[in-house]
Symmetry: C2
Subunit: 344 residues, 2 copies
């Protein structure tokens, strides 16, 4: 019976009895990301952020297409061997995904969790593999600075000023081939469990300070994770949020201290790592559902491969706003999904 | 081992070895839907389409909230007993969902498949239950005529003329409690399998004829389903698409005839059933990811309960466009996810 194979821990967490292997992954980023601290680690860096396309949206679609192409190639897989692709992006109606992956002809489960989408896609993808529903699946997410600014904030041509709490949407896409087996023992990591997050809304309304909006969701999922798994921060070499940035990081650490957990020694945020805020004018850090995806692929999985880390908790956070909800005066609720990733 | 419990049929289809029960469901609709042919079957009909809210988006959120409330109540479940909610809507960044279900505090997997979202949510929800990841999950989707017109087409105040191929977005939300058990033997149906759809793009660009844009996707998923399951149209009492409308229905039947399948005797479309096109001025039919959800809850599951039908294939279709993709001259790709539902 499959029920015994996958252990429920509380209602939100699942311990996968059968490991799911990250057979391969790939990262494709824009010029600015290529110039940042992780620049040399990405698989592909664009010369400009249009990637040969005529619109920002098409460029973002292209990011997904290229990331999938590279991930499939590295895994030695053809698109026809992939059962499902779990994919999403930040744009209205997820159009970067719709136009990015159609040509591969892989059955699609579209997912949306704002910048937490990479965590959601990996969680659902891992469950579908561990459950025996698929031998291989793809997980892919993307974001693009220019398409996101247009979608959520102001046209680039306005030259809008940004407060120091604002983050800079990463132009990038990360793709991951998950499999039930570890062909050639070349897999980059193992997904061994997850904690699904719920929406947390502290009533904050400042879309220029999304780190603070999302930190309560990260704290909620982390606390639930520690309870469900009966674990502590020091059980992980790193606890890796997606794009809280420097402001959100402070809030998260404070919120968890109040709950009795000190993650300050092991916390890392992809948004803080991907840019050099001093020289790249990115303020609080990088963001977007490409940010955590490309950092996971290029940097985090590398540490697991090289043995620097054995076990990490990957926890991308999302801010569930839209231009419409913002203009109608709604708050910015957050969500965060956690995935346990261990070295092979 | 769970691998033996869930049988993969081809790469896109899954036969759930353990049935997943639709423990309960609920439908909440607007005034116009209440006046339609299925009006008396819905659980709740709004007196107007604002449902006491001040914006269309908030009203749509309220639809989801009410549908979940009723479904939980009918199932005799509290929100705390639900592991995951699979939810989505048509609005940019799925804000109807984000603000509709937050208060329940259930871990959320946001899904997006345009008007196919109800099929996607049921497919993923059923897999998570059959895989032993959850005892109970919720699946909920919604659409709202006024929020969708604002999101995709023109402000209502324009009084825009609509061609006869256009569909009318249904104001409604359907919620479903799926469970691994059948408490009291009161469940409304069983989900026994699924076929996930891929994006199909015939290059059509007319967002006022979405039936024709989506029909090729429905044909693709149906053909794949017949192949994977080694089945024929007559194996089902009904094959039920979501919102192809009258134009899309004709295209679907023709496309499948070319592939050697005649579904004309068993095909039903929720969009055609929900309105009386002659008297309600809805042209080609109803649409939106509330359309298939409320029709499934109010009408289809009733037939299964009453024994009129034994086995249906529920196949909502989605048009993967956004205002931005449309304005940039992109085509309108389609997608369709199929779920096999049998009587208890």
């Amino acid at each position: 019976m499959s029920q015994s194979a996958n252990q429920k821990l509380g209602r939100s967490s699942v311990k996968l009895e059968r490991d799911v292997y990250i057979n391969s992954s790939a990262s494709v980023v824009g010029k600015k990301e290529g110039e940042g601290p992780l620049g040399l680690l990405f698989d592909m860096v664009g010369e400009d952020d249009l990637f040969g396309c005529s619109t920002w949206e098409e460029a973002e679609s292209n990011l997904q297409k290229d990331a999938i192409y590279l991930a499939l190639e590295k895994a030695g897989r053809k698109a026809e061997e992939i059962s499902f692709v779990f994919a999403g992006d930040l744009l209205g109606q997820s159009i970067a995904t719709s136009f990015g992956i159609a040509s591969y002809g892989i059955p699609l489960f579209g997912v949306y969790g704002a910048c937490s989408t990479c965590g959601e896609a990996l969680a659902l993808g891992a469950m579908s593999v561990a459950g025996g529903y698929a031998d291989q699946v793809l997980c892919v997410t993307s974001s693009h600075f220019a398409s996101a600014e247009k979608e959520f904030r102001f046209p680039l041509e306005y030259g809008n000023q940004r407060p120091l709490s604002a983050t800079w949407t990463v132009t990038g896409s990360g793709a991951f081939v998950l499999g039930s087996a570890d062909p050639g023992r070349h897999s980059r990591g193992r997904i061994t469990g997850l904690t699904a997050g719920k929406i947390v809304d502290y009533g904050l309304k400042d879309s220029m300070n999304m780190g603070a909006c999302m930190a309560p969701a990260a704290a909620s999922t982390l606390e639930q994770h520690f309870i469900d798994w009966n674990s502590q921060p020091e059980d992980y070499d790193k606890i890796i949020t997606g794009d809280l940035g420097t402001v959100g990081q402070t809030v998260l650490i404070d919120l968890l201290r109040d709950k009795g957990y000190d993650i300050s020694a092991v916390h890392m945020d992809c948004g803080i790592e991907i840019f050099d805020a001093q020289t790249q004018d990115t303020h609080a850090g990088g963001s977007g559902c490409g940010c955590s995806a490309v950092t996971l692929s290029a940097y985090v999985l590398k540490q697991l491969e090289e043995g620097s880390w054995k076990k990490v908790l990957f926890l991308p956070t999302g801010a569930l706003l839209s231009k419409t909800s913002f203009n109608e005066g709604q708050s910015v609720p957050g969500i965060a999904h956690a995935v346990v990733i261990e070295s092979v």
